[in-house]
Homo-oligomer: 121 residues x 2
């Protein structure tokens, strides 16, 4: 069983967190064949936290958990905080393959996305 | 003369801010025909600030400044802080059209971008 967790910062504004949850829902259509679980977790403020999200995946029987930092630039959250949490979880669940992908950053797709926002005004 | 400012949060990590500057550089190739100035500004921590960036555009002779919040979800920075700064600038420079686009959020392009990161591992 394979799981994907989208990690975002977490906001005091509920709608902001729900916006990220909505991205996860849409991802299920895009990536549902590759992952049995696709869920949203938060570094701060909102819940579930990253450790809670990983625990849920493990309890559900996941043998692999892929973690994608939903951040636009590699600040300290991306380079230090999230990797440290993932390292802790890997130690806690040695039988589960827990991997971290790169964050959302500059790419052809991002430039097209920015251009489309500009065109919409 | 038209200007585009990409607003990001700003990080204590210089490389993170430079990553956003790099997106701006790449945007010049994508949108250089529509904008005479394409620049990066920061809400906090890094510089130039949003007011500094807008001032530079006005001093350079821009009649319109488009501001794009480079944020993944509409937390308080997107819904309150950035609009308040833009409203102040509009009042300060009544002869300049200063507009705010939506932030980077859920879209077909974003789902494809996430999928491509997952495929790269």
């Amino acid at each position: 069983m394979r799981a994907l967790l989208l990690v975002s910062h977490g906001s005091r504004r509920t709608q902001s967190n729900e916006e990220v949850n909505q991205v996860c829902e849409q991802l299920k259509e895009e990536l549902g064949e590759s992952f049995d679980i696709i869920d949203s977790v938060f570094l701060e403020i909102a819940s579930p936290s990253i450790p809670e999200g990983i625990k849920r995946c493990v309890v559900a029987g996941s043998s692999s958990v892929t973690i994608l930092p939903y951040f636009l630039a590699a600040g300290r959250h991306v380079t230090e905080d999230i990797p440290a949490i993932v390292a802790d979880a890997s130690e806690k669940y040695p039988g589960v393959s827990i991997s971290l992908t790169r964050h959302i950053g500059a790419s052809e797709g991002m430039l097209k996305l920015i251009s489309s926002i500009i065109r919409q005004g």
